[in-house]
């Protein structure tokens, strides 16, 4: 595998079995996408898989001043794009874990206690995760309270759909829609929001 996209984490702001929030500094171009699959490596060799549910770019004072400045040398706008790390808070929802080579869609037995980096999963890993035993991990996403569930879901599905198609699994998406409908059958407003958002993917 090529060099993994790695985001060093400055500090772990809060973590429990379901979610954690990492304070990081990322270059603008490396900011992960909403709904992207990422993983953290724990000391014992296991890995926790998570979905990015929110990225909060904190105000950076400097950027604010730059933005309102009249004439900024192009070198300095480039500086901000390539050199400066934006302080971001990345919210990650645990959706599964891997231990001794086996992938599970359950919550990890232990939350991450101290991290040094967040690894963004590439397409191959995304396909592997989404095909390891059904769509059970959706239920973790649907339990989100303070993040926009529909947006995260749709963002994730869009990425997973594209990746699965590329890797020869075009039926994955249909199954995912089916599962969502089953899970959200009793929550009409939410289901219709998700479906309407998915409709735009077509």
């Amino acid at each position: 595998m090529s060099e993994e996209t790695k985001i060093p984490i400055g500090k772990l702001l809060r973590a429990d079995n379901r979610q954690f929030v990492a304070g990081c500094r990322v270059k603008e171009l490396e900011t992960p996408a909403l709904g992207a699959l990422c993983k953290v490596k724990l000391d014992d060799g296991s890995e926790i898989f998570g979905l990015i549910t929110n990225i909060q770019i904190n105000d950076d004072g400097l950027v604010k001043q730059l933005v309102s400045g009249l004439s900024i040398p192009s070198e300095y706008t480039a500086d901000n794009r390539y050199n400066r790390n934006l302080p971001v808070e990345i919210y990650v929802l645990a959706v599964g874990f891997q231990r001794t080579g086996r992938l599970y869609h359950r919550l990890p037995p232990r939350p991450p206690l101290s991290l040094d980096a967040l690894y963004l999963c590439d397409d191959a890993e995304l396909v592997r995760f989404t095909n390891s035993g059904g769509y059970g991990y959706f239920r973790h996403i649907l339990r989100l309270e303070d993040q926009p569930v529909e947006e995260v879901l749709v963002a994730h599905l869009a990425q997973a759909r594209a990746a699965n198609k590329l890797h020869g699994k075009p039926d994955w998406y249909g199954g995912a829609c089916q599962e969502l409908i089953t899970l959200l059958r009793d929550d009409y407003p939410r289901l219709m929001n998700v479906l309407n958002a998915l409709a735009e993917l077509e």
Binding site: G174, C177, Q178, I181, T182, R185, D186, Y188, L191, M192, L195, N196, L198, A199, E202
Partner: protein, 576 residues
Amino acid sequence: MTDLNMQTFEQNKPIGYVVGGGLENNLQVRLTLPPQEVQEGAFVVIDSGTWRFYGLVTDLQLGSTDPRFADEQSELRLPAGLAGLLHGQTLFTNLNVMPVLMIDRGPEPGSLGYEAWRQEHPENMAPVTVKTVPSHHAPVRLADAEDIAQIFGEEDNHNIFCVGHTREQGHPVCLNLEKLVQRSSGIFGTTGSGKSFLARMILAGLIHAGHTATLIFDMHNEYGPDSTSSDTGQAVPGLKGKFGAKVRLVGLGAKTSFGKLPADFTLEIAQSDITSEDILLLSEELNLNETAATVLSALERDLGDQWFSAFADMRNGAMEQNEDGKSVPAPDSVAFWANQAGVNAKSAEALRSKLDRVMRKDYLVRSTATRGLQEVIDSLENGIQVILSFGEYSNDLDYLLVTNLLTRKIRDRWKKLTEDSYKDKGKQPRPLVVVVEEAHKLLNRGMASQTIFSTIAREMRKYYVTLLIIDQRPSQIYDEVMSQLGTRISGSLGDEDDINAVLSGLPGRGALRGMLAKLQPKEEVLMLGWGVPMPIPIRSRRYDARFWQQVLGSQEQPKTIAEINRSLGFEADDTD
């Protein structure tokens, strides 16, 4: 197999699965096909564990997991794929299935418990009334020909007689004729609903099977001769034409014929056949009062068998001068006899004048050229079908009198035959079915006290005599009679009272009410009741040339006696 406008199902493919319900309120089945592919009245089979359940679809209901899914047309907003997935999970159709029968199929042959089970049940099990329910998610499928044969029997052109086909797949549905005639039965439907065709088919079946005699009171000359269908204008073969000598056309009175066909036999009734009981039955019609009974018993006591003729000879109010010059009743007067017999003269005279109507009937003769009523009874006893036409004698008095006389004789005869058979085990009387058209004329509440039909309906089946009622107003029929009916076959009925009447006495058949109301006129009937293992709506068999071909085979139709005579060189004789 009729050509029905239906798609062919793959045999045994499930159409749904059980989701709830129970014995009292019917089973709920989730349909896994589009609702248009199943109709009310479909005969379905549910397998659960070792049991197989048989039931009827009595309702279809559209449902949704949330009413908003049904209200909002998401197929307009979502792409087809998503909309399809959504609807597949949120919108559904539930069937109401009325379970009726179940059968223990036992474990699979070759499986562990099979040998043991076979030991216990060496014969294959018969279907029993349903007493339990299938489990959740038990698969439900439409019955196939094999299932129907299992329940209704396989057509053998003899006793198991095909009366129609299932509506959804056209599998043949049969009646067990032997069972049918063990109880009284009824064929109902509005005018033009095809009930008389159905009756003719069943009678044809009975005649062909040969073990039952039938006496048909044919008010409108429908049964014997060929006629023309009032709807299609096509020729409709008659029973006489097809069965020849097995059928006797009997006309009441000399003038009665059967349209183009002459009567085989003219029925004249000897006056000596009339008993006081017969007269008393007609009290309401004749407007007799309480005194009549006394007079009648005096007449019978005094004059014996010929009382009726003798009474007829007497004149009302005949007077003469006696020695003293006083007016005294003449010796041939009613009053004379009354005084002499010790009954009130006025009562006797009243009775005489009221009986005049009866006495003047043409077909009531002092002595008959033939054996009259007995001739009819004998034919029946020998297995010949008798169709009695009333000709011009079409008022209530005629119906009542003649049918009462006949049925009384039948009752007496069959009772004796049955009692004899107790001693001599071999000789059971031949079952007799008395077919009554327009039954509400004779069997309404008002008339009920005046006919013996309710007696037949109630008691006579022990003596092998049952009724077959054909009528379009079952609500008018005396409920005592209705409740005795075993098998009921009904075409479409418009009136709610009629529908209730057809269903009366049958337990928990509310579900069938809707089905009855929605039958296709002329094409569909609902069979239910004792003679039918389970209620089922069917597309009735067509009574046409093809029917005859199927029943009688490709043999030549039997010739009438006249034709046989003719072929032998004898002149055709109208009356036998």
